[in-house]
Amino acid sequence: MTATRLVAVLPLTLLFLLPLVAALVLVLPGLLDATAFASMIAHPQFAGALWLTVFTGLLGTGLAVLTSLAIVHAAGSRDLSRGSGLFLAVPHLSLAIGLAFLIMPTGVIARLLAPLLGWTSPPQWVTTQDPWGFTLIAALVLKETPFLVWAFAALLNRDDMRRALDGQVAVARSLGHGPMSIFLRVILPQLLPRMAGPLIAVLAYSLTVVDMAVVVGPGQPPTLAQLAWTDLNDGDAATAARGGAGVLILSGLVLLLIFLVGAALPLLAPLRHRLLASPPRQDAKLFRLLIILWPAWFCIYGAVMLVMALQSIAAQWPFPDLLPQHATAAAWLRLVQDSGPFLTTFVLALATAMSSVAAAVAWLEWAPRRADRIAALVAVFALCLPSLLVGLGQYRLFLALGITGTAPALFLAHVLPVAAYVFLVLAGPYRSFDPRWNAVAAGLTAQPLRFLLRIKWPMLKAPILAAAATGFAVSVAQFVPAQLAAAGRFSTLPMEAVTLSAGGNRPLIATHGLGLMLLPLVAFLLAGWFGQPRWRMR
């Protein structure tokens, strides 16, 4: 019995819980430096950065939640999970790079307008790096909406949810409620409480993102995450300490905002009561327009990818020309010839995703159910913390162990967020597995292991593969922890992409942006294909 417990708990503890706790224990005391805090608060850009962070983070999250709800509502009973999986494969950094190529003053949209408006030099419009951070908000909404749609869809696909909702929706319909009315009164109140994890993850991510803000965010002032990241990398010890203080302030801000948003939601109760007290209603015609939202997402992502593909082969592309003058495969050849970063990224993603899935399955299968809450809470907590803080803590841990710049350090740095995501994605579907199958199998005298191998895991292969693909994508996108742990000994695709974006060679930037996208895309497509029931695969 104790042996089973150990098998159940040990892998996730070693990969995730222990390193996280050790990282935090090592990093926090060093950051509690009064002088550094005072100098961060006295930083001329601090107030502006704080405001910008709160503004972009809250507005980005709020809009993403509203849009995703509109999309889920408009889809009705259609299953959105497979389509939204494709969006998950696009890393934040790739989307930001592609979006910039689309909307900057020399971007494709300006080139399309140029002949109409007689422009010969690029317009002086303010798109990327706008002082309000609207481009950053747009990028966040574009990226986070499909994630939320995917999370909603996964929830609606669960057997227990579907069974409960189907009946309730039928009742509501027979009482004369239109689809929007049903959505607001019946579906939404049951969805939202179960969505706390993904919603918190989106808010935390929007507040703390570094790579996306570097590419499309403003610089004077930048967001707090960018400000802290620049300071952290400074050669001067006092400035680096100021960056550490910035990271801690950012972490506090995230926790505070999550708490405030959570506390503010009950204030909306009167509004909800008024809605519930109103008589059944048919939908306004306008709501039907929501149906175009989801296809619009496909169009925007398609345009972004197309522009990146064009840019990746453009030898010379002077301004008003709609297409590049010459095509060249030089950038792609570079990616192939200098294949180290690509392979490192691939091997890391495969290793972290597989070990995380194994650890999560072991935990969910054999650990006591009470322990789930702890693991889930720690996972959500880990995702709330800025990757800056966790990355810095891990770096201190690796320094103390003397393993910076080694393969194990790189693996541990990547596996931490991967394990958190995989556990959160898998926990719901795994726990909602109908226990009556157990009873049936036991009645047919199947041994426990045989039951797992022949019945339970095959039946759960879709969510297990989806969790693996998610983990793979999360690993591919890691920048901050990877950069710190690698100590220059290893290079991964996001590290190359960020380094290159400092150099301004657009074909190379575009190639790496697409390369970053390709790996998770293949993973999600494979997961989708093998995740189908066997009869559909033939």
């Binding site: 020399t106 790096q129 570097v214 004077q220 010379q316 910076t404 400092a502 301004g504």
Partner: protein
């Protein structure tokens, strides 16, 4: 053994005679070369430029075939990251550090030197150091007015240079005042990268020098008191310029490379670089048109030297020295000087080389070469940098 060598080096260095230096270390140079064989040098170098990366690749291949030394180019965006990494490693007691050689100068050098994070002195004992033009190029011994003391080996020369498409900029502005008038006539088409980007910081230093009547004071260490007497004029000059900059001086491009890309796109009219041959290099690469012109300010622009240094906890100190010596060799320097390769000016005294070696340094006048040169001005002492950057952020960093 190590102490004896250090003793010899300091004696040699104190004589200021390259020939003496040569004989002083001649005895153990073969030993260093022998020890270097089979070692791996992790060379941490800024990697934002394709021609530079390609040149480092060439040098790495040569090291492998000539000395059996493996050179790995660790691509970084900001040398400050390396300073921090070495400091963290040394503090954690890590002896086999992750950095063997780093491309460095200025403030980062001063930090590493003052925190005793550098190995050496070694550079003046390298055989090829005898060829360095220490008299004609005093910045090879004074890095941002900080004494080098043999802790870094000179690699290349730099001078702030401006460039533009000659078809769009008929008369290049050759002072900050002229640049301000040019910007006023072309609002929104001039920009410089935001400090602490290296080029952005250099630009505001150039403004400081041009705003002062006697720039001699800048070669001495600065303090707030001294700076405050120069600050109002400096800020007035920047204020006047910023009014007509890109985005009215409220946002700034994030790097020099971004400015260059925007100039190539026609979004900006004037670019800036620390490598006088970069504009010609950009023409050769097809990024800028053949009519590109390059210039320096009439009364001069800031010039300096960039170096390579070995951290105190480097694992392959021997191989790092062999590589540093190779980078200073006439062959490697001539190739680096070639506009078609990189175009980075040499640190060597070309006139002291053999005739055929001298010929290898001749760059045919290429389109985009500097047509209006100005004298090289000494960098202000590195201690001015934090004062300038802080004042700049306070005044212009809030959008």
């Amino acid at each position: 053994m190590l102490n004896r060598r250090r003793l010899l080096l300091t004696t040699a260095a104190s004589l200021f005679l390259p020939v003496q230096t040569g004989t002083a270390q001649a005895a153990d140079w073969p030993a260093i070369e022998a020890a270097a064989k089979g070692q791996t040098v992790y060379f941490n170098a800024w990697a934002g430029s394709d021609p530079i990366n390609a040149y480092i690749k060439w040098a790495a291949d040569e090291m492998k075939s000539r000395y059996g030394v493996t050179v790995e180019h660790v691509k970084i965006t900001d040398t400050a990251e390396v300073v921090k990494r070495v400091r963290d490693e040394v503090a954690a007691g890590k002896q086999d550090g992750s950095v063997d050689l780093v491309w460095i100068n200025g403030e980062n050098f001063r930090t590493m030197k003052s925190e005793k994070l550098l190995f050496g002195p070694f550079s003046e004992a390298l055989p090829n150091y005898a060829l360095v033009d220490t008299e004609g190029k005093p910045t090879t011994r004074q890095d941002f007015s900080e004494s080098v003391d043999g802790l870094e080996a000179p690699w290349g020369m730099a001078q702030l240079t401006f460039f533009a498409d000659g078809a769009k900029v008929a008369e290049p502005p050759r002072s900050i005042a002229a640049l301000t008038r040019f910007a006023a006539a072309n609002p929104g088409r001039v920009a410089y990268p935001a400090p602490p980007d290296f080029h952005g910081t250099t630009f505001i230093k150039q403004v400081l020098i041009e705003s002062a009547i006697s720039p001699a004071a800048f070669s001495k260490p600065a303090d707030r008191m001294l700076f405050s007497s120069y600050q109002p004029v400096w800020e007035a000059m920047l204020d006047a310029l910023h009014k007509s900059l890109w985005r009215e001086g409220r946002q700034f491009p994030k790097s020099q490379a971004e400015v260059t890309q925007m100039v190539a796109d026609g979004e900006l009219l004037i670019g800036l670089t620390f490598n006088p041959n970069e504009p010609a290099n950009l023409v050769a690469a097809g990024t800028m048109p053949a009519g590109t012109i390059a210039w320096q300010h009439e009364k001069g622009t800031i010039g300096n030297t960039h170096f390579v240094a070995i951290p105190v906890n480097a694992r392959s100190k021997e191989a790092a020295q062999v590589f540093a010596n190779f980078l200073m060799s006439p062959e490697a320097q001539a190739r680096k000087n070639d506009i078609k390769v990189w175009g980075d000016p040499t640190v060597l005294a070309v006139s002291r080389l053999a005739a055929d070696q001298q010929a290898s340094f001749a760059n045919a006048a290429a389109p985009g070469s500097v047509s209006l040169p100005g004298p090289a001005l000494l960098e202000p002492h590195a201690s001015w940098v934090p004062l300038l950057e802080d004042a700049w952020l306070k005044r212009y960093g809030k959008g």
